[in-house]
């Protein structure tokens, strides 16, 4: 068996496209699950569990 990187990348692209096409509510539920997982992983290694907001074109 050999790894065909092109095939792997193409299959990942197809999977992402399929995810993108799912109903919004389903994607938001997936986000919920992803956040839970992320918090579990981050909490096990560090205490900071939030992101800094970006500078949304802040007026200076």
């Amino acid at each position: 068996m050999s790894f065909d990187l092109q095939r792997i990348l193409e299959s990942k692209r197809r999977y992402r496209a399929k995810l993108a096409e799912r109903p919004v509510a389903e994607k938001l539920r997936l986000l919920d699950a992803m956040r839970e997982r992320a918090l579990t992983i981050r909490n096990s290694s560090q205490t900071i569990v939030r992101e800094e907001p970006p500078n949304y074109g802040r007026k200076v």
Binding site: R16, V24, L31, D32, R35, A38, V49, G57, R58
Partner: protein, 165 residues
């Protein structure tokens, strides 16, 4: 709750941006919080805007505060004012989407992509690439926004860096 907040006159208008906004158009985009942009009602003659009315409003419903965040539905939600013309336009032109019978207002894909181009962190660039690769953008509309908000140079640089091979 956001719709109710708007109906109760706490803010003029809200729209979801950031990664959760992007999830309306793309595969689920990993994030830990929700960015909600709001048009704040001016308080008297002050030019400063205060999120206090929003915090006070949600506290009445028993919502917990966590620093700058309000926890709604288990998610830390950050309320942000439009901080420049691009975000102001994104808020004004945000669209309403149905989520299992609940109306949610969200930035358009083109505005989310333009904001990602403007903010320009590595993860913003990755998100912009996702928008392009998924074919989630109306190219003409995106180009108009890029031109209107003086992002043409940045867009050309992005194209050279990521889209030309």
């Amino acid at each position: 709750m956001l719709n109710q907040m708007e109906r109760d006159g706490v803010t003029d208008r809200y729209a979801i941006g950031g990664a959760v906004g992007a999830t309306f158009y793309l595969e689920p985009v990993d994030t830990l919080d929700v960015d909600v942009f709001v048009a704040f009602k001016p308080e008297g003659k002050s030019l400063l805007v205060s999120p206090s009315p929003i915090f006070d409003y949600f506290k009445k419903f028993g919502c917990q505060m966590e620093g700058e965040y309000i926890v709604l539905g288990g998610w830390p939600v950050q309320f942000l004012p439009p901080t420049g013309p691009l975000v102001e336009e994104a808020l004004a032109e945000a669209v309403t989407r149905d989520v299992e019978g609940i109306q949610a207002r969200v930035f358009t894909a083109e505005h989310l992509a333009a904001i990602a181009l403007q903010t320009g962190r590595a993860k913003d660039k990755a998100r912009l690439l996702q928008f392009i690769e998924e074919g989630a953008l109306d190219p003409e509309r995106f180009q108009q926004i890029v031109t209107r908000h003086a992002l043409v140079d940045r867009w050309q640089q992005f194209q050279r860096q990521f889209l030309e091979s």
